[in-house]
């Protein structure tokens, strides 16, 4: 069987993410598209550019967070219903450090990520002893416990939340407005995608997948299953904390009530529909589900969908639920598996389907 367009002469080349010239070209085109994306005019006139960019910025932050969930749930197989709480912890860390302690946003950001990682690590402790369903419940408990704790202290704004969280600024150049935020967020997104891809092609990524597939056999590879679960939660927490920090700075306000259980479910759905355990799957999953949600909400608010404003929300949920059921039963490897199949068929053509 001839394999098209693949001439790799050493293993380092074969391991590279961008092993071929075509891939470099594809990346260059992609980056140009990303740079031009915010200048594409909107179709719905009035809300125009702003609505579109606001959605894009929000989606970038969600992708970063979901990449973390993808490590915990997609790769390591630990169902995490408390991911939104990790984002919340990152967000509040940012808020407290910048408002109460007066740190600059950029200094608080790595601390937000790191602290969330460390807290996630402690959440993993019950997961070591528990399996499957029970891990999900433990993480769910963490969501409610963390919300409760945050609302108990004045420094975290009690039940009112925190306000006037500063935007990042570079020597007086303030990141404000959707366009500047877009270009501020994009490097973080690219970095996180790269990190996620690196994790999945490295020693630790394979250990995650090994314990997901078979945690008993994985021990015979010399993998300390408990320790690897902790590491998965730690890495997932880093992503979520970073996303949370970015989110609270962008919104400039944060309250515990924005971090709902429902969000956690959305995030899980995103990795299921995109393709659990794969970086590209997580990205595709977030974009497609967020896009559906955005389109339906635009249609709802512009009156295309009849009925009250909540009608479009219900339609969104129905589509979401249906999509998950259909994907789990017919495409359990997610949207990304369709792309892999197309690629495989192209390479094998005309020898097989």
């Amino acid at each position: 069987m001839t394999v098209r367009g693949r001439k790799k002469t050493d293993y380092a080349r074969d391991l590279a993410l961008l092993g071929t010239r075509q891939r470099w070209i594809a990346l260059a085109i992609f980056l140009v598209v990303l740079a031009l994306l915010p200048f594409i005019p909107d179709w719905s006139g009035d809300i125009a550019l702003r609505g579109w960019l606001r959605w894009t910025n929000e989606t970038i932050i969600i992708i970063i967070a979901v990449l973390g969930l993808n490590v915990i749930t997609g790769m390591a197989g630990q169902v995490n219903l408390g991911h939104t709480a990790f984002i919340m912890v990152g967000g509040f860390t940012m808020a407290v450090l910048t408002t109460a302690a007066g740190w600059p946003m950029l200094a608080a950001l790595p601390i937000a990520a790191l602290l969330t990682g460390i807290i996630a690590l402690f959440v993993a402790l019950p997961a070591i002893r528990l399996k499957g369903f029970y891990v999900a419940i433990a993480t769910l408990a963490f969501l409610y416990i963390s919300q409760f704790i945050i609302t108990q202290f004045d420094i975290t704004g009690a039940t009112d939340g925190l306000y006037q969280i500063p935007s990042p600024s570079f020597w007086g150049f303030k990141i404000k407005g959707y366009l500047r935020w877009y270009f501020f967020l994009m490097p973080f997104l690219i970095l996180c995608i790269m990190i996620s891809a690196n994790i999945s092609r490295s020693r630790i990524g394979r250990a995650f997948i090994a314990i997901r597939d078979n945690h008993i056999a994985a021990q015979s590879l010399g993998i300390n299953v408990s320790w690897i679960k902790i590491k998965a939660f730690f890495i997932g927490g880093l992503f979520a904390g970073l996303a949370g920090g970015l989110l609270s700075s962008r919104n400039s306000v944060i309250t515990t009530s924005e971090f709902t259980f429902e969000n956690s479910i959305w995030y899980l759905g995103m990795i299921i529909i995109g393709g659990a355990g794969r970086t590209a799957g997580a990205v595709v999953g977030v974009i497609s589900l967020s896009l559906i949600r955005q389109i339906l909400s635009v249609l709802g608010s512009s009156g295309v969908i009849p009925g009250s404003s909540t009608t479009s929300i219900y339609i969104t949920y129905t589509i979401y639920g249906l999509a998950i059921i259909l994907f789990v039963s017919f495409k359990p490897l997610g949207l990304i598996s369709i792309w892999h199949k197309i690629k495989l068929n192209y390479r094998r053509w005309p020898f097989g389907v």
Partner: protein, 263 residues
């Protein structure tokens, strides 16, 4: 205490689950570079014994010495990193991973790149990946599974999965390799391939502990055979001694008796 050339020695191993005695005072010894087989009827305690050696079960009493060091009660991942590698009877270990991924994962104990290295994929992580890949390719050509490299385990046939499982144990570069029924469910040509693999491993100086129901293969391969029945060792010796052993023949009343006497 431990005889010269003995690499793995079990002494008076007792393993019970509630009222059931799975292993009842089993002794065994494996010499460096030998192929030792454990045979016995279903439920005799063969898999219990290797689960005890590899740290999956923790016997209540006894000692298992590996190079003079008592490993009984140690965790499974610890024992794997000491150089005792095993395969599983059911070869569907990591269904979503490709053969290459599984073999690369088999290099886990020989690599040590940290999370930070892995995230950035530079320096140590990159070097180790290239080295792991080289070792994985070696195991691939050793086990003749070149065409399975990028195929997920779930998409392979049973026999192919068995081959991958053996290659996986091999890529870990163990001193002792424990094979749990590597030939069960295979046809004759596949059995021959696996037999050759075992001989090849032996030629490379590995010590092999084998559980197998295929008596012919056992007799052909082994330097020494241990026979278990009802959790007790009923015989130990060369294949010729075992074939002539009265107790063994009794334990195998039925289907296997004729098999044994025909050898």
């Amino acid at each position: 205490m431990i005889e010269e050339n003995d690499i793995l020695v079990g002494k008076d191993i007792h393993l019970g689950f509630g009222g059931i005695k799975a292993l009842d005072g089993v002794d065994f010894s494996v010499k460096q570079g030998q192929i030792v087989s454990i045979i016995g009827p279903n439920g005799a305690g063969k898999t219990c014994l290797i689960n005890s050696i590899t740290g999956y079960y923790h016997p209540q009493h006894g000692r298992i010495l590996y190079h003079d060091k008592d490993i009984l009660g140690q965790k499974a991942h610890r024992i794997a990193s000491l150089g005792i590698s095993r395969t599983f009877q059911d070869p569907t270990t990591y269904p979503s991973m490709t053969a290459l991924d599984i073999l690369m994962a088999g290099r886990y104990i020989h690599t040590s790149a940290s999370i930070l290295h892995a995230m950035l994929f530079f320096g140590k992580s990159r070097r180790e990946e290239v080295e792991s890949r080289r070792m994985a390719e070696e195991a691939i050509s050793f086990a003749h599974i070149e065409d399975l490299r990028k195929i997920p385990l779930a998409a392979m046939s049973y026999g192919q999965r068995k081959q991958v499982e053996i290659a996986r144990a091999l890529v870990m570069q163990p001193e002792v390799i424990i094979l749990d029924e590597p030939m069960s469910g295979l046809d004759d040509s596949m059995k021959e391939i696996v037999t050759d693999l075992i001989f090849d491993m032996h030629d490379r100086g590995m010590t092999i502990l084998l559980i197998e129901h295929d008596i012919q293969a056992v007799m052909e391969l082994s330097h020494s055979v241990i026979v278990l029945d009802y959790g007790k060792k009923i015989a130990e010796g060369t294949p010729e001694q075992i074939a002539g052993n009265e107790l063994v023949t009794q334990a195998y009343l039925g289907g296997w008796t004729s098999n044994l006497s025909s050898l």
